[in-house]
């Protein structure tokens, strides 16, 4: 089988932050239902990996797993990566334009100015500070999932950064059943990184593994809003099987091509 396997890790970030656990807040989905995966769309996914071996015992199929973390309650990952920065810049430019208009307004409209200023301040929204220690995405403002500027970050519902897988560990890794690693990727939907693993299918069985996942909480610190990383983990399983390779024509060993020994009219 040459098909690569994808496992989507969909995190309900809002509820995970509230309960500080990924239990019941993660939905796993893979593209291997065809080969017997169970529990798609739940937190209890068993990914089936059907391997094969040649008659000399060597591995017949290369199995490659890919993990894709997504967030429930975020701006969709398919919008361009610069979208959030662009929205922040747009809102600043709009505020500057409105301030200029307000400044050039005729005198005597002072009563309205206070209300106008307050409206402009609302439209400016909530910038998120970048701190090296806190990490997390910077240079942006707090947006809701429709891309609108959020004025009161503490009270309103806002979009959260996508979860990040920081490590994949556990039984399947310790027993050298799968070899996960993080790779650079030209696909910015995954922030330029993704976790992938190759699998040794020579030891069939069900093995668990743990994903360490970082999500981000918007907190106010020293008068500024920052994304504070919160590290949690969740468990999943792989079920490895292995079957013998066989000849497609004979279902046994290799033979002659199944062409009838007939003479074609020339």
């Amino acid at each position: 089988m040459t098909q690569q396997l994808a496992i989507i890790v969909l995190v309900d970030v809002g509820n995970a932050l509230a309960s500080r656990t990924l239990d019941d807040n993660v939905y796993l989905f893979d593209n291997m239902k065809l080969h017997g995966s169970e529990g798609e769309g739940t937190g209890d996914l068993v990914t089936v990996l059907n391997g094969s071996y040649w008659n000399d015992g060597s591995q017949g199929t290369e199995l490659v797993l890919n993990w894709l973390p997504y967030s429930l309650g975020s701006i969709p990952p398919t919008v361009p990566r610069g979208y959030q920065v662009q929205r922040a810049r747009q809102s600043d430019q709009q505020a500057l334009r409105e301030l200029a208009e307000l400044g050039s307004a005729p005198a005597g409209t002072g009563a309205g100015s206070a209300a106008e200023l307050s409206r402009i301040r609302r439209n400016v929204g909530t910038p998120v500070s970048s701190t090296l220690r806190a990490g997390g995405p910077a240079g942006r403002k707090v947006l809701d999932v429709t891309g609108q500027i959020v004025t009161d970050a503490g009270a309103s519902v806002h979009s959260v950064p996508a979860p990040i897988i920081t490590d994949i560990v556990g039984e399947a890794v310790d027993q050298k059943i799968m070899y996960p690693a993080e790779y650079g990727s030209p696909d910015l939907v995954t922030d330029g990184w993704y976790w992938s693993a190759t699998v040794d299918s020579s030891r069939p069985g069900t093995y668990s593994y743990t994903m360490d996942i970082q999500i981000h909480d918007l907190v106010e610190r020293d008068g500024a809003w920052v994304w504070q990383p919160v590290n949690l983990s969740c468990e999943s399983r792989i079920k490895v099987t292995s079957g013998p390779k066989r000849n497609g024509f004979t279902k046994a060993g290799m033979g002659p091509l199944p062409v009838a020994p007939v003479t074609f009219p020339l």
Binding site: M1, T2, Q3, Q4, L5, A6, N31, L34, H35, N50, S52, G60, T61, N66, G243, P244, K245, R246, N247, G248, F249, T250, K251, M254, G255, P256, L257, P258, V259, A260, P261, V262, T263, F264, P265, L266
Partner: protein, 154 residues
């Protein structure tokens, strides 16, 4: 003589499933025969082989995360009918050269030896059957590729 000729079937699985055809650029076949095969990269590849060579077919999905497997390879008679059309066995086993549904097609290795009884210079067309996932529209057939025996080579 090259001991083995590889025939690689490249498939755009999503294109084939949405167009409901292997044509329209959804499938391309190439081989590495040292002899002069024709139709490289098309659905009408005619691979030139020699008796005693091993021919191996494999399928590659253009989108690596889509499933496609070879389900059967059946040679056709001059009228385009399956030449080795045997009645299905009484026990329900699939006829030779075909996998039954639900079987692990990824275990199949589609290789065979070119027999000495092929008439040189005559294209032997074959039916390539592919399976993409397992739904009611998952099976596709292509009757256009062929093998041609170029005669013994040194």
């Amino acid at each position: 003589m090259k001991p083995k000729v590889n025939i690689v079937v490249l498939v755009d699985v999503i294109g084939a499933l949405s167009d409901d055809t292997l044509h329209n650029g959804n499938l391309s076949i190439v081989d590495d025969s040292a002899l002069r095969s024709t139709g490289q990269g098309t659905t009408e590849l005619c691979t030139v082989v020699s008796p005693g060579q091993v021919v191996g077919w494999s399928v590659l999905a253009v989108d690596l995360q889509t499933p496609v497997e070879i389900r059967s390879i059946t040679f056709l008679d001059p009228e385009g009918r399956p030449a080795a059309a045997e009645p299905p066995a009484a026990d329900g086993a699939p006829p030779a050269g075909e996998s039954s549904a639900g079987e692990q097609l990824d275990l199949d290795d589609w290789t065979a030896v070119v027999p000495p009884w092929m008439t040189p210079g005559v294209p032997y067309r074959y039916r390539l059957e592919l399976r993409m996932h397992e739904g009611p529209h998952s099976l596709f057939e292509l009757d256009t590729p062929a093998l041609l025996c170029g005669g013994p080579q040194n």
